[in-house]
Amino acid sequence: MGKNESVSIVLCGEAGQGIQTIEAFLIRLFKAAGYPVFATKEYMSRIRGGSNSTEIRVSSRPVAAYVDRIDLLIPLDADALSHLERRITSNTIILGEAAKIKPPEHRPVIDIPFSRIAAEIGNPIYANSVAGGVVAGLFGLDLALVTEEIEGFFGVKSPDIIQKNKEAAVKGFHLGKELRETGRVVFEIRPEAAVSDDIIVSGSEAVALGALAGGCNFVAAYPMSPGTGVLTILAQHAREFAIVAEQAEDEISAVNMALGAWYAGARAMVTTSGGGFALMTEGISLAGMIESPLVVHVAQRPGPATGLPTRTEQADLDLVLYAGHGEFPRIILAPGNLSEAFYVAQKAFQLADEYQVPVFVLTDQFLVDTYYNVPRFALDRVSIKPQIVETTQDYRRYVLAPDGISPRGIPGYGTGLVGVDSDEHDEAGHLTEDLELRVRMQQKRMRKLEAIRKAADRPKLMGNEDYQTLVVGWGSSMEVIKEALAEIDRPELAGLHFTWVYPPAPEAIHYLRQAERIIMVENNSTGQFVKLLHAEFGVAVDHRILKYNGLPFSVEELVREIVTILTEE
């Protein structure tokens, strides 16, 4: 997208300098001004210091992908310029306090004394509002809107603080306006999509809200980046929605709590990242054996082990696919954007309940930490009808049902008794060493996989139906692939995105077969989805675009890589 369709603003500084505040304010402001807006961040695993940056894309039409390009850079400390070195071009406008950021000779900087202005108003902390005002001025926004948004943003603070921040923003605004009017910095971009009815959420929020919409009323988790956000958000709404949000002593406890909760009639989830999930794998196997529903949110980050705690990767697909000893069915869903994150989380509860299997919502740091406007989530797309039955006196939990799905009773609802057992068991849930029964129970459990396969959502085709080359992705890369394909804009090229990752819909084979060439895009080093496609459909992938430095794909690099492959021939 050209500069007239999408402007990339990057803020960069130390942890603790308030980048998040400017980010949040600018997102609000631009959305209020009618722009689609998108923000993504990359940050270090530390509380203070280091070099972190946030990219805000202000666009004419919605975008939801990371770009390398920086149109407007606001460095907040001396390290920012070197941290972003490779992304700064001669077209990048750098705007900041020259004294603080110490720009090298060849990097002209538009010097704006944020701190001094803030200090004049009374406190250096107002610098962030000055910066916000400057950006608003540069984009030619309405001053009234700016002050209004300041009011909304600092709503809970004291009137004096609000007033001071307004003052700061107004000062900044005039400086920005002047730059614009003197023609030194001009951004000519007009919104073309209506966003006023949209909502702005982060990936973590989308998952948490989706869970609520799925009837989630129990979350147990042990904090682990980037999975913690979902716990925090649910905890914040726990009283309001009368749900249990418990911080467990470890991940093992969390998953066993969630299973106990489902057993007793709750709708429970856990949220974690790869390392925490590794500890839950025995519990996943328990879910398989007792045929308990379970929703597991795994927000991926680079491994192995502690790896890069605040970065992104898609390398835990194999893990969730095979986690747990023994053999049992499961479902893996990996949302492609924030709308999908909501609906997938919602649907996960329904699927878990219906098939009595663990359902994974597989996201990553990139997805959970992005913010943007999306159409307000519809609350009627998936119905919340709990699948529990009222038990009768002769109730047996594991009736050998033809489709493998035995009606699920819970203690305290009906006159029957509900027994579940991690050993191989009979229909009543009592442990058995009847080896023929074992075989029938194992077959019953595995039969559910076939039912699930039939229910699987198809992958989404993005682009021309007459494609010859198919760019395949899964999970959080959907939007970047979409934007890259739009950029390349070739009729023989289309994208295929899997949100329902496992078991993949059998119909997917048609899309894959039609392609003369398949290019796989994955944020990992071994091509885990390539293996899955091969195993499920016998399809070979011709090219793999893999990235595993902890950052998401950028539109530019994907364009570059795809075009290289296309021209290689």
């Binding site: 249990v244 406890s253 066993n256 106990g260 429970a268």
Partner: protein, 286 residues
Amino acid sequence: MMGVELYQNKVTDISWCPGCGNFGILKLLKETFHELNIKPEELVMVSGIGQAAKTPHYLRCHFFNGLHGRALPAATAIKAANPTLTVIAESGDGDMYGEGGNHFIHAIRRNPNITNIVHNNMVYGLTKGQASPTSERGFKTPVQLYGVANEPFNPIAVALALDASFVARAYVGDATQTKAILKQAITHRGYALVDILQPCVTFNKHNTYQWFREHTYYLEDDYDPTDRVAAFARALETERLPLGVFYIHPKATFEDHLSMTDGQNEPLFRKEPDLAKLTELLRTKQ
């Protein structure tokens, strides 16, 4: 069905060894439930894996026989999800104090209104006789050939250090008193630990019925179960192990603290998701 039979399961093939202390515990449990008039439909037995952990299979009630060491998190959640149920977490000493040690600590801190019964035979029964955390120093096994070297885990002392709401030790050989303790524990509001000394006739030839008879005695009638430090001093006695209720500290339970709007004991499954509130919440994101 009436009386104790009410808790009698159809499963008749009990896989314990003849003479095992587990039979006594099973019998006492049935009598206790009967005498406390806890209906099978209101009762959930939660267990891990081990010989003790098979107990729920020999009872008529709801049961959740989960993973080795993981009964307490499941039990805590079951109680939280439906506070109207009577929830008992029951397993062996290896299960609760070994594999499940971390949950033991933190369940006590959380104080759910559940009863935690530990069949303490000072050995791993089901896996054929290795040392358990409570095995005495010098106890020889196929793995601890030269005798256990570790300091034995003292569940009473640790529970006191964590300020558990109710702490008791019983000996299965004494039916009357053990039943009295069980009743007190189950009716106690909050987490209640009952560590039951239980002979394993197959793998623990040291801590036999006779040994327990000779090495236990009851806390005095005028013993004050509210004095935590005094209780700790008694918990450290190892020559002869005191039996009875060491400590009672009534306090708010996990369920009391849960962030419920209604403050009711309403089970979660009876609550409809509040879509109106969610619509409202979504609007605030606009």
